[in-house]
Symmetry: C2
DNA sequence: TGTTAGCACTCATTCAAATAGAGTGCTAAC
DNA sequence: GTTAGCACTCTATTTGAATGAGTGCTAACA
């Protein structure tokens, strides 16, 4: 791809056009730029420059006698070259993250926080893990029912009830627990193969039946965790704040995509590839994978909760989103998470 | 309130008007009714009757020279008197409910099922419980970290890690577990008072510190469960299928309301009061509590998972929703749940 | 007394034409 | 290289006329 380089004045004009367009959402005319930018030149000069910018594919006109709006490429140049980093500012008011026990609650909270702060739509994908088994606990919750608690990496907990099982004494349970944990802890699903399983069954002796039930339950727990990758969203209705997205057709498409978890996962997880220096990726318009989001931009960042729990958090908004603010907010959030969980 | 009673022909006309309007969403003229209903009278006669129905407040005209549309009162009469029960039919194709371990998964699944079947928006409120403590399990997940698993009624599970705790032997843990469970099991939060707490602390002896941590964690678990009453929705974007709801303003309002959990809880929980014989409630237009849903209707039913876990499930759609189908679907769903969980 | 045909009237919707206004491209002068 | 000026283009808004669905009312009819 050709590297586009603009001289200083063209850069200023492009930035002025985009900055104005971000605020108004209306095509920007040469007169406006001439009056409100700090390079004191007439509208005619601006027009000449604009023609050049249009030829370079950075600006476009919705119709002949209208002002200019940025193309996807224009936004791209803006994001890559013209945005001032303003990290300092955003750090002043820290986002209030509460420490919680359940991952889902934390994720939902983060999404809400992000949506409220940016006034766009936030989404967050749960960590995609190798999912190692961390701990298994058998216990007799009530007579006739054996409870199996399976703790997977990242404190994702699953629990199952085995009904109609024979009652075991606390001592018997303790023995089984130790047996299971000493063999299985730290193994991922692929490592729990037939060999390990048979060994456990043999060790179990007279508890062989129970052990079989328990093993199948563990398998189910890990497998289902591997399969689903939860995505949480918040502030979906913020898109109605932006007229260019809020007409029936588009809004419907976007909201439907937000409801379809699988699509989101795709959109977010491809985000890992094209990355900027600060770990933040920006996808503008047609750079998005999801068809119905081609009028949107997506800004993503990867978070790290430790224990290999790496996931993606992102903001979806109109192409004319306040990229500076969103990037700054995301960076602040990530940094804060790092402080809390390391 | 006056009891409205219609003679047979007026009833037929009202039903014909509403049935037609349900399908088209357009005002219904006298000619249409005259042609397509089975009471063979001229449009003029229909018009005369319509004037009466309008005077009674059951129909209205959007403007002078348009056909009639039902008022909220008209829908009310329709729902109360004119709907044929068609329970049989819907039972043929049973909804496919999978049995799952986690309540949230089940609820989400039910909502999705309901939304897909009705093509409206489904919502379901989690059971509002006394929340009794069912089981507590202490264990040493890894060195230096004590894991507390708290099982609340309905298999709602919370887990907490107590970091930096002293290591305990399996025997010590067993002792503590038995101590805690024999004292606390089956108590609700209001029953775990200072007396019980002190008794436990004293029993704990040298483990007093650990016990204190554990108790505070248990308290937190139950309290947070009591506070939050999760609501799941599905098919929110279905409202875009109905033009009268899908223009920007309204759609935004409705979707926002759907995102705000508290509002939904209000809407659903007031549903318990005004109940029809079959356990299903219908709220039409302004009968809804939520301002932004005054153009919608809400049909709710109460479900019962056993163990006192009673909650509400509902369908939101345009006022011209297919009440018969929705009511039948809901009844089928409830019945099926009863079969599965009793 | 209830039903029907006929007709004048109302009002939303649609379409085309006229108008206003924003903004450009181009040229010529500075 | 910059600027003023002007013709030109195209959208958005307004206006008015035509269309048509549907009503209300009256008078005739069974």
């Amino acid at each position: 791809m050709d590297e586009i380089q603009l001289d200083e004045r063209k850069g200023s004009i492009l930035k002025a056009v985009i900055d104005t367009y971000l605020k108004t959402g209306e095509p920007v005319g040469s007169r406006t730029i001439s009056k409100f930018s700090d390079l004191h030149v007439s509208s005619a000069t601006i027009r000449n420059e604009m023609v050049d910018l249009e030829e370079m594919g950075l600006l476009t006109q919705p119709h002949t006698s209208a002002g200019r709006i940025p193309t996807d490429l224009g936004y791209r140049y803006y994001v890559d070259h013209l945005i001032m980093e303003r990290e300092q500012e955003s750090r002043e008011h820290e986002l209030l993250i509460q420490k919680v026990d359940r991952m889902e609650v934390l994720m939902q909270q983060l999404a809400k926080l992000l949506a409220q702060n940016t006034q766009y739509t936030a989404m967050i994908a749960g960590p995609h893990l190798g999912k190692k088994l961390k701990y298994v606990q058998l216990s007799q919750a009530e007579p006739g029912k054996l409870m199996v608690v399976v703790v997977v990496e990242g404190n994702l907990i699953r629990n199952f009830m085995l009904p109609e099982s024979e009652d075991l004494t606390p001592e018997e349970l303790l023995g089984l627990n130790i047996m299971i944990n000493s063999t299985l802890n730290g193994l991922s699903i692929s490592e729990i193969n037939l060999g390990v399983i048979n060994e456990l069954k043999n060790q179990a002796g007279k508890y062989r039946d129970v052990m079989e039930d328990v093993l199948s339950v563990i398998g189910e727990a890990i497998r289902s965790e591997e399969g689903e990758q939860p995505v949480f969203t918040s502030g979906a209705t913020n898109i109605f704040k932006y007229p260019e997205l809020s007409d029936g057709e588009k809004a419907s498409g976007i909201l439907t995509a937000l409801e379809e978890q699988e699509q989101l996962v795709t959109a977010l997880s491809t985000a890992v590839n094209t990355e900027k220096a600060n770990g933040i990726s920006v996808y503008i318009g047609s750079e998005n994978r999801i068809e119905s989001m081609k009028d949107c931009s997506l800004v993503t960042a990867n978070y790290d909760f430790g224990e290999g729990m790496i996931g993606t958090i992102g903001v979806i908004g109109p192409k004319r989103m306040d990229y500076e603010k969103v990037v700054a907010t995301l960076m602040g959030l990530i940094e804060q998470l790092n402080k809390m969980y390391h």
